[in-house]
Structures are given as structure tokens and as C-alpha cells.
Amino acid sequence: MEYEAIIGLETHIQLNTETKIFCNCKADSWGEPPNTNICPVCTGQPGVLPVLNKAVAEKAVLLATAMHAEVRRVSYFDRKNYFYPDLPKGYQITQFDRPIAIGGYLDLPMPEGYTRRVYIIKLHIEEDAGKTKHANGYRLIDFNRCGVPLIEMVTGPDLRSADEAAQYLIRLRQLVRWLGISEGNMEKAHIRCDANVSIRPKGADYLNPKTEIKNVNSIDAVREAIATEIQRQIREVEAGREIHAWTLEWDEDAGVLRKMRSKETEADYRYFREPDLLPLVIDDEWKSQILADFPELPLERRARFMAQYGLPEYDADILTTERALSDYYEAALQAYNGDPKRVSNWVINEVLRLLNERGLSADQLKVTPQYLAMIIRLVDKGTVNTSTGKALVVKVEDTGKPPKQIVEEEGLAQVSDTGALRAICEKIVAANPDEVEKYRGGKTSLIGWFVGQVMRETRGKANPKEVQKILRELLG
């Protein structure tokens, strides 16, 4: 029998606000000692009250808008009551029945060519809890993470394969970075993901019991864990066994899923309105302020790059992985005012390499889009040859000097003077009688070697086409 997987993802996105959601503690405690970014409010001391950090609401509005969700004018905070040592108040402040946004979807263009639309069934703001660690028979608690702002976003059961699930996370990560609302680093738990997985015969319209996979903290892990679970469920069903609603934990090192606890009944969290916070009102004025600089989204920009500039899908995809890179590309293209594909090649090959090597983002480069356009122009005009042009990209980045200045200072301008080149070529030919003989004897591939000798003599500045022409003449 052929099966299809039914997958829904529950993600928690850690927002990159300066301070926590309800107090003035620093939000990001990555790498800091335990319990150093805490205060009476986020450790749940008696008598404290939460005060909403407005930046959290603003970032949620950005994400909701990007997900095509409707932003509620009035939403509410609720208490989710449960006991856990790293939950200092004994309840989590979250949004339950009137969250900040309703509905929404994300389109996933798949490498195979189709697009999967994933619906969003929940999008709300909440606070994070602390971290518990077991050591030497003790339970150690770090409250640094308490009150770190999160957006919880849950998809419908709309994903059909482990690859689609991975693609969702890739696109989500791209989107949150694009919007500037989260660092989106899964290894640092900026995006956390639980996956609900079930299978059914292909084409069936019912849902089977699902399992929930927790603790998957990279995109590869999500893909692997889901694929593993799909295979397990198929084996179980084929063997005539039932699927139980287990909660599973992904052990990344061993590559196996472990059963955590059975989850047949939902806990009662006794939700009720948080009386310590006023309703969150996002009126038109505030909303338009938040959305004033709302960017073109990655998929829209990707489509536009293909339509407007005639770029291949491959180029458009790479150029839109990060907002800064796509902005860079467009600025360079505008400054260059020529063939979009030519600029794309330079960005994808030279600029991207530089970014990767140096761990920079495109907006941090000293080779500004304008400088890049100048460099390409210098190559176009033959002032420098291509390899000098590529070297220039690095030199400009290293020095911050304008490309032309470097060309002048270092004498990098291409030697195209036929007389000078002819003299050098003659010298090379004269100095290598053996090779000349071989060439004339039919080994014409040696032309490349001769060109290389001339280039070396000119420290790379010779116009290779011109050199080849002269050499053929001399050797001919």
C-alpha cells in the first residue's frame, strides 16, 4: 500500500527584542552564566506585575502580516496554569482564545516544482520558561530564559513529507530574519520545533492517531526525525499494529526516537484572562506605524527577480535567501545599469564567497554595491581583466578604498597596448625554443602555456585575448 504522511509543525520563535517581554532584563542570555539576567518580575517574586514590552507586539504584527494573517484590533493575554520548577509564577502568560492574529498561510515552493500552501492555525505571543538541568542528583534551574518573548505558531496538518517540513522551517527562518524579528538560529533555539506526524493510505480523507516529536533543534534533525518516524509508523501499520499517541524525543547523536510519555488526555491548564495586563489594542495608527516600512517578502522578491530581471530561478533563489543580500544585488544592479545576469554572477560568485569566508552580512561589506558595479564596469571596459576584477573585490573589502584608486595605486590596469604586449610575447617566444618547436609540431594546446607565461610576465595585467592573438601570429 502507498502511504502519505500528515505533518503539522508547532514552532516557537524567539524574538530578538532588547529586553524581555514583561520586565527590563536583557532578553538574550546566550552563553551567559545561569541566573544573571533576572529580576523580581521574571523570577516570579511575590507582588510583581508584568508590563508588556511593546516591541514584542510590533514584531508579532510583522510576522502575522507576512503570514497573511489578520491582526486583531483587540487581543488578550491569558494565564496557562501548571506547576513546573522552571516556571516561576506557576503559570505562563500566553494568549489563548483571542490571540493577536487569526489565520494566515505560508507558500513553500518545492525544488520539485510544486508549491505547498501551509495554513497557520495559531499565532500568538507568550513568555518563555526557564531551563532545568539535572546534575549530581540535583535539579538546577536557570531563570535567564524566563520571560524571553516568543511567538508560538502552529500549522495545520498540511505538510506531506519530511522534506516539506524542512522546507517550511527554511522558509520560516528566512522570513523571520528578513523581517528582522528573530535571529532565527535553530542551534541557539531561536526557532524550536515540535512535529506532529501521522500516516494514512494515500488519498484517504481521515486522520490517524499522531505522534509528537519534541526536541528537534536543527532543520536536518527535523527532516531526519520525521522521515524516521514515518518509516516507523509504516512498519507498525504493515505489521498490523496500532499507532499510539506517543510523545517522542529525537536523539540526534543516535539518530533514534525515544518515547517520552503517552499523551492520551490533554492537561487542563485552567486558562483565564491575565488580570495584570490590559487588553492589547492595536489600533490603525499603531498598526500603520508598525507596517510603514514593511518589506517586500522573500518569495515575492524572488518572483520579481525572475520576471523583472529575467534571472533563472536558481539565481533568484540564492539572491533572496537574505534580505540584505537581495538589497545588495538590486543596489549593485541599479548602479551598474546593465545586464542583471552579469551582476547576479558577480554577486553569487564573488560577493557570496566573501560573505561566507568572513561571516559577514551583505550590508556590512566595504565593497558597497556601487563599488561592485564599478569593478564590473572596469572589467567590461577592459581596464582590468576578469581575474584582476575578482581580486579587486577582495582588495576593496580589505582596504575600503574605491576600486579605481586601487587600480591606479597598484598599477593593475590591463596592458592592452599592442606594441608593448608584442614585445613581451616576442621575448617569451624567443626564450622557449623547445616549446615553440612542439607547438609548431602540432601541439597547439601549448598556446595556453604561452599565454600563462605572458600573464606572469605582466603580473596578470595583460589582456588575455590580445595576448593570444599576438602569440598565434608569432607562433603561426
Binding site: 516570579g44 506585575l49 483565564f272 495584570d276
Partner: protein, 517 residues
């Protein structure tokens, strides 16, 4: 010394600011008086019957801290600076407020060892205004009660008018302290009447401001949507003075209001002529559920008469008295309160789990759950446990619609009662309602305690203001046949404490009542 103690707080502040009295001198006189009347402070496991003729208002007397504050006030005077409107006025704080460096116990074993790491906003404001904090006074455990007897700290406060009687509650230590001259002012809290009822029982003035008027930051929460900090004082003027200091927006409390804070003392000078004050038959009876039936009981004649006499005196001052004002949903105030306050309380008490601070069971435990169960089981007294049980029950998913959501609807209806009678375009156009504060005078110790439901009905005349968020004030007007004080209550419009205080001042002026001290 008694002469000094009989001065009003605004007179003390004026004398200190003028250099006629030193803050230290005022403080030492007060401390001496406390030493003579208060007896042993409440402590865990002590004898509830100890020193039955003393007041026992305090849990923690912070004399050295107070001396440092008084000296700082005096130093400012010497330096030519103004220490503020409460210059040198000793005050007490209900031990439901967290104060940095002092035990902040909520009257519970579970917080008996808790030292505050920060200071509650209203306390901070009083200290910044030159007030001198004497210490923390006793209360019902987590404010759950109307007699202060449920405190884990024994002996619990006694009524200065008759120490065999309760001072009321939950701000019983506050009212008893102020009535007995142990400090001029006390910061209390009112969730269903917890400022007004003890004020009435002890013959002092108790003001529950509008919800949001005074910051709750640092108030250990009971029913967060109802809790309101407010002043207890020996005179309306002193209550006005204190309210002005503690009122106003606080960035630490999202529910605190940005409404401007008027000059309350100046408002007292205005004439009450032409103000409209209503009397409601719904405040002259107690309605309670008994075996599924609603039982209606009229108030004792003395209580009703005190209100009618007050109305007559106000009428003589030119106030228009409007009779037969309907407040039809007042009778549902208690049942709705049972549900809402308990749901909020159960959740607010979640944090006391033995993990981070407070009481943790010394017993060996097998696991986390047992640690929770034992710590909470041993740390909480009967009243918190009752509230947790009921709060958990009525907020459970399957009952929430039936109880909690309905209670919230009732609350809206109660609010509408007030909106209707205060509507300037409406039929009644009231500036205030005049009602009794309590259905009885102070009851004997041990009398009603333990009967939780009946005790709660004592709040029927006060709780509606908490549901609606409107301000209310209790003013002592007379004494009953047993010589116990009786108070009347004025309920007013949102954020219009100024009018309320103005009327309260008129009531106080006309009343034949002499303070205990």
C-alpha cells in the same frame, strides 16, 4: 505625649516641615506608645490567647529602619530641603506589601522567611514623601478573611475599642494600629471590603480608591482584578493626604491609570451643597443563598439608623438626598466574588511551591511532586487551601462556562448598576451612594471565624465596589449600644475620589464620633 499622638498626620507633617517637631521625636513617642499598647508581635506558632488586652497589630516592627528614615527627614530639614508632604509621619504597612530588606510574610507560614528584594510602589512613594515606616502589620493569611484571625502569626490583632473583639479584616492590623495610635496612617488593601470593613470596626477612615488609581506593584496578589491598595487614617483629611502621595500611574503596573491626580486636600475645602447622594434599599438588606433559596435579612436597626442620620445631616448641609435608588445586582456580588476571586487566587498562589523562596518542607521527599505537595500542604493555612480548591474547581475547563464566565457577566451587570445611577444624563445623576459599611459592628474573636461562607456575606455591602472598580470610603459616625464604632460608606464615580472625600469630610464633621486615641 498623648497630645502629640492626638494630632493629625497633616499637622505632624506641617510641624516637622516648620521645624517645630523633629521626625525623630515624633517617632520615639510613637515607638514608646507601641511598646505600651501593642504587646508581643504575631509570630508563627505562638499562643493566640497571649496578652488578651493588647492590640498585637504588628508582625514586624522595624524600629531601626524607622529611626534612619526619621533622621534622614530631620537632616533634610536642617539642610533646608523639603522632605515632602508626609514629613516625619509614622505609618504602618499591611504585611501583604513587599518591602525591601524586611520580612514580607502575607501572614502565611509559606512566606514567613521571605525577605523582600524590592519595595512596593505605594510604600516607596510614602517613604519618598518623608513618611517613616514603622513596620509590617498583621492581616488575614494572604488577605483571605474578614477578621484577621486566619493569620498564621499569633496572636492576631485585637480591636482597640474592645480587645475581646476582632479588628475586622483583612487589613485588621492596619485599622487596629491606626485606631490605637500606633502610627497615623496605614497602607491597606481592599479586595472585597478589606480596608473599609476593618476601618468601620475600629472607628477609623478607610478608603478604597478606584481600581487603577494606586499601583499594585509589590502587593502580594489575592484577586488581581479586585485588589486595591488604599489609606487607613484617623481622619478624612489624613486619608486625602495619603491618597495624594500614593496615587498615580506607575510604569511597573500596566493596570494603573494615567488619570490626573487632583489636589485632594484642596477638594475638601469645597462646599457639599448641591451634591446628589443616593440611598438604596438594596444596601439595607443582606441576601444570601441557603439551601438553594435566597434568604433576605434586614440590617440591624442601629446600622440603618446610622446611615439615615448621616443622610439627614448631609441634607442639612445642602446635599440633595435621593431615595430608593435601585442597585438590583448588589445581591449577586458575593457569589460572583466567590468565583472570580478564587480563580485568581488559586492561580496567584501557584508560585508558592517551595522551589525559589519561602517555605519548603523539611521532610524527605521521593520526588518533585511530593516536595510541592508537602511544602504547600504544610505552608498554607486553611483559608488559602479552601480558596485553591474552589478556584481550581470552578476554573476547570468543564466548569469554567458555568461558573467563571457567568461570574464575569454578573460583574458586568453590577458595574452597570453604578453606571446607571452615576450617569449625569440619567434618572439619578448621583455624585455618591450612601450605605452602611458593614451589617454588624465588630464581632467577638472566634465568633464567625471558621464559617467561611457566612463570614464572606459580611462583605456584601462593600464587594460591589470592587467588582465595579469604583471608589468607596468608610467613615466612622457613631457607636452602637455596646460602645463599638459604626461606619457609613460612600461609593463614588471612577477616579472621583475628590468628591467622595469632600462628602466624607462633611459626614465626619457632622458626626458625633470621637476617636479612640
Amino acid at each position: 505625649m498623648m497630645e502629640l499622638l492626638r494630632m493629625e498626620a497633616h499637622e505632624i507633617a506641617a510641624a516637622v516641615r516648620a521645624g517645630k517637631l523633629s521626625a525623630r521625636e515624633v517617632l520615639e513617642a510613637t515607638l514608646e506608645h507601641i511598646a505600651s499598647v501593642d504587646g508581643i508581635p504575631g509570630s508563627i506558632g505562638d499562643d493566640p490567647e497571649a496578652e488578651p488586652d493588647k492590640i498585637h497589630a504588628f508582625i514586624t516592627l522595624t524600629a531601626e529602619r524607622a529611626r534612619a528614615q526619621a533622621d534622614a527627614v530631620d537632616a533634610k530639614i536642617v539642610a533646608g530641603e523639603d522632605p515632602g508632604p508626609l514629613a516625619g509621619v509614622p505609618f504602618t504597612v499591611k504585611d501583604i506589601f513587599v518591602v525591601e530588606g524586611t520580612p514580607s510574610t502575607a501572614g502565611s507560614r509559606i512566606l514567613a522567611n521571605y525577605i523582600g528584594p524590592y519595595t512596593a510602589t505605594p510604600v516607596e512613594r510614602m517613604e519618598a514623601a518623608g513618611g517613616v515606616m514603622l513596620g509590617k502589620v498583621n492581616l488575614d493569611e494572604f488577605t483571605f478573611g474578614s477578621s484577621s484571625e486566619s493569620s498564621a502569626f499569633k496572636p492576631t490583632p485585637r480591636n482597640p475599642w474592645d480587645t475581646s473583639r476582632v479588628p475586622g479584616g483583612s487589613s485588621g492590623g492596619s485599622a487596629a494600629a491606626v485606631a490605637a495610635g500606633e502610627g497615623w496612617l496605614s497602607l491597606g488593601t481592599d479586595t472585597a471590603g478589606s480596608i473599609r470593613q476593618p476601618a468601620a470596626f475600629c472607628g477609623v477612615v478607610g478608603l478604597k480608591p478606584t481600581y487603577g488609581r494606586v499601583s499594585r506593584y509589590g502587593l502580594i496578589a489575592f484577586g488581581s482584578s479586585l485588589d486595591t491598595p488604599g489609606p487607613i487614617a484617623r481622619s478624612v483629611r489624613d486619608a486625602a493626604l495619603m491618597l495624594h502621595v500614593i496615587a498615580g500611574r506607575d510604569p511597573h503596573d500596566a493596570t494603573s491609570a494615567a488619570a490626573p491626580v487632583p489636589e485632594y486636600l484642596a477638594a475638601l475645602e469645597k462646599d457639599v451643597r448641591g451634591l446628589r447622594v443616593g440611598l438604596s434599599p438594596d444596601y439595607f438588606r443582606i441576601v444570601r443563598a441557603e439551601g438553594g433559596e435566597l434568604v433576605e435579612e434586614p440590617l440591624p436597626a442601629e446600622i440603618k439608623q446610622a446611615v439615615l442620620d448621616t443622610a439627614e445631616r448631609l441634607a442639612n448641609m445642602g446635599v440633595e438626598i435621593v431615595e430608593d435608588v435601585p442597585m438590583p445586582h448588589n445581591r449577586y456580588g458575593i457569589p460572583a466574588y466567590f468565583v472570580i476571586a478564587r480563580v485568581e487566587a488559586a492561580s496567584n498562589l501557584h508560585r508558592y511551591d517551595g522551589v525559589k523562596y519561602g517555605y519548603r518542607t523539611p521532610d524527605r521527599v521521593a520526588d518533585m511532586r511530593e516536595m510541592y505537595r508537602k511544602s504547600r500542604g504544610q505552608g498554607f493555612g486553611l483559608q488559602p487551601k479552601l480558596r485553591i480548591l474552589m478556584g481550581m474547581y470552578v476554573s476547570a475547563a468543564q466548569y469554567s462556562e458555568r461558573y467563571y464566565q457567568r461570574a464575569l457577566q454578573v460583574r458586568t451587570l453590577i458595574r452597570r448598576d453604578f453606571e446607571a445611577v452615576f450617569d449625569p444624563e440619567g434618572k439619578y445623576r448621583l455624585d455618591a451612594l450612601l450605605t452602611p459599611t458593614t451589617p454588624t459592628a465588630a464581632f467577638p474573636m472566634g465568633a464567625v471565624y471558621g464559617d467561611s461562607v457566612l463570614m464572606q456575606y459580611a462583605d456584601q455591602l462593600t464587594v460591589a465596589a470592587n467588582h465595579a472598580g469604583v471608589p468607596g470610603i468608610s467613615v466612622p459616625v457613631t457607636t452602637d449600644a455596646d460602645g463599638l464604632p459604626l461606619g457609613v460608606q460612600l461609593l463614588g464615580r471612577d477616579f472621583d475620589e475628590a468628591t467622595l472625600l469632600r462628602l466624607a469630610r462633611a459626614v465626619e464633621e457632622g458626626a458625633a464620633f470621637t476617636a479612640k486615641v
